[in-house]
């Protein structure tokens, strides 16, 4: 194998390139992406960057790294098509990039629900550094912001906007916040936390239409027919995986580009990673994760396979974080199929929720409790009885397990 092409310059695409070199790959690496500039970290866009505006702190590596590691970066270059027979990626400028192996790290894009009025000035989304820079600039002149969607991005932005003294309303169509990812108990805790920050959170409130005057946004008409005034609207209703390139090339696509346990697509010369791929959990059920952890761990797994020939299935424990005001939410594992939630002791009375399915620990949600979170990552899969014997204290349970390793 002498030439590996990676499509997508997000953290996953970057990590694939870096890990290929770390594993000892000596062939050519070409990293192609449509965004301008060097690969950067996306998580801080709605957190630290939104508050401090320091773009140079976002870079994953300086320009010198790409030179030193002989990674060819084609920025502002959109891949147009994959010719699987010839093993060539074509870009919109007509250039052809032959590959021995192709890694798709195309990520996800903001999903814009069909709400009329979105073309008005002052309606924003938050996915890229360009989005974040524009939003941040606009925030400085905003008196009242309306966030459509009570998920991670919307709520992180809401917290930063409140801290900057802007009035904020969050509209969430579902009955609770971050409902796709969190236990009802933790959703409820964050609802109170955001209300305590002074954010007007409205649950079960969809956006019917975005109102504007002279082309500028003036508010949002909600499903209960009340118009909420505002001069900035952030659409934060989730993302959709970027599967167009893969689909057009005839690869199997479901909720993302479908890969097997080794992260290969239906074409053995093509892998996929991160937000754009749907991969099997150890129990075989497919999942798509939108997280740095998945993107980076997928990238390392693929690099090891390509360079060292490993054939093991991907099985990393998922983890995730979200900074909302002074609250750092941390999640270990996946709790979407949990059938029981137990509140465990946490430091300073901070919430710690243990999520179980069939009496085994599947996820742990914590706030400002790094120790409990780190212990949780090692305890996923532990029987409930074992944790109960430790009073549901995660650090205690981990210490007990270390003292008496299972036979």
């Amino acid at each position: 194998m002498s030439r590996i092409v990676i499509v997508g310059t997000g953290q996953g695409g970057f990590q694939a390139a870096a890990s290929l070199r770390q594993e000892g790959f000596e062939g050519e690496i070409i990293l192609i992406g449509d965004e301008p500039g060097l690969p950067y970290q996306r998580p801080p866009l709605s957190k630290a960057y939104m508050a401090d505006g320091m773009a140079d702190r976002l870079l994953l590596k300086p320009a010198a790294f790409y030179e030193r590691a002989s990674i060819t970066l084609r920025e502002r270059t959109r891949a147009a098509a994959i010719d699987r027979d010839r093993r060539v990626v074509t870009t919109v400028d007509g250039a052809e990039y032959p590959y021995d192996h192709l890694i798709l790290a195309t990520g996800a894009s903001t999903f814009r629900p069909p709400i009329p009025g979105q073309e008005a000035d002052g309606v924003e989304e938050l996915r890229t550094l360009e989005d974040a820079a524009r939003l941040r600039q606009r925030l400085a002149d905003t008196r009242q912001a309306i966030v459509i969607g009570g998920g991670f991005i919307g709520l992180e932005f809401a917290a930063v906007a409140r801290a900057a003294g802007v009035a904020v309303t969050v509209l969430e169509a579902a009955p609770r916040l971050m409902g796709r990812a969190l236990s009802p108990e933790m959703s409820a805790w964050f609802l109170e936390a955001h209300r305590a920050m002074g954010t007007d959170v409205r649950l079960g409130a969809g956006a019917r239409r975005i109102e504007s005057a002279d082309g500028k946004v003036t508010g949002v008409d909600t499903s209960d027919q009340k118009v909420i005034p505002g001069d900035l609207v952030l659409i934060a209703t989730g993302v959709r995986p970027n599967v167009g390139l893969a689909e057009a090339a005839g690869l199997t696509v479901g909720n993302g580009i479908v890969v097997d346990g080794t992260l290969l697509t239906s074409d053995p010369a093509i892998s996929a990673l991160g937000d754009c791929c749907s991969f099997p959990l150890p129990d075989g059920s497919p999942v798509r994760l939108e997280s740095v952890q998945a993107a980076v761990d997928h990238a390392r797994h693929i690099a090891r396979r390509l360079v060292k020939g490993t054939t093991d299935s991907y099985a990393a424990v998922p983890w995730f974080w979200s900074d909302q005001g002074k609250h750092k939410l941390q999640i270990a594992g996946l709790g979407t199929t949990a059938d029981e939630v137990v509140r465990a002791p946490g430091p300073d009375d901070q919430p710690v929720f243990l999520l179980f399915r069939d009496n085994r620990l599947v996820a742990v949600e914590t706030v400002n409790a790094a120790g409990e979170h780190m212990a949780a990552r090692r305890l996923i899969g532990t029987p409930k009885a074992v944790l109960e014997a430790a009073g549901f204290g995660l650090k205690q349970a981990l210490n007990a397990a270390k003292a008496a390793p299972p036979a």
Partner: protein
């Protein structure tokens, strides 16, 4: 102000830092091998582990809340001078800081 990074094999690199930058951010910006900083300084990983040089340990101060829990998960051995470099913010008294890097972060 300046920071000196000394890798496990003894390679020394002296770089310029700004007040307010973390020791992790300065390492990333200067392409220093031996610090990963996977979570970007969010206290979610332990891949920016460093050993503060004995002469500087007092000035950099003790580990922050939660830092020791993350360092428990670090890939290389921890010492009393172990810190997460994302948690050391540069200030004038730290001009000239020397940190040693572990053999591996993963």
């Amino acid at each position: 102000m300046k920071i000196t990074y000394i890798t496990a094999d003894g390679t020394e690199t002296v770089v310029e830092a700004r007040e307010g930058d973390s020791v992790m951010q300065v390492a990333i910006a200067n392409d220093i091998d031996g610090i990963i900083g996977e979570c970007g300084g969010s206290m979610m990983c332990a891949t920016c582990h460093c050993y503060v040089d004995d002469a500087w340990a007092e000035k950099t101060g003790p580990q922050n809340d939660g830092e020791s829990d993350l360092l428990d998960c670090a890939a290389s051995e921890t010492k009393p001078t172990s810190r997460l470099s994302c948690q050391i913010k540069m200030r004038p008294e730290l001009d000239g800081l020397v940190v040693h890097l572990p053999e591996t972060q993963l």
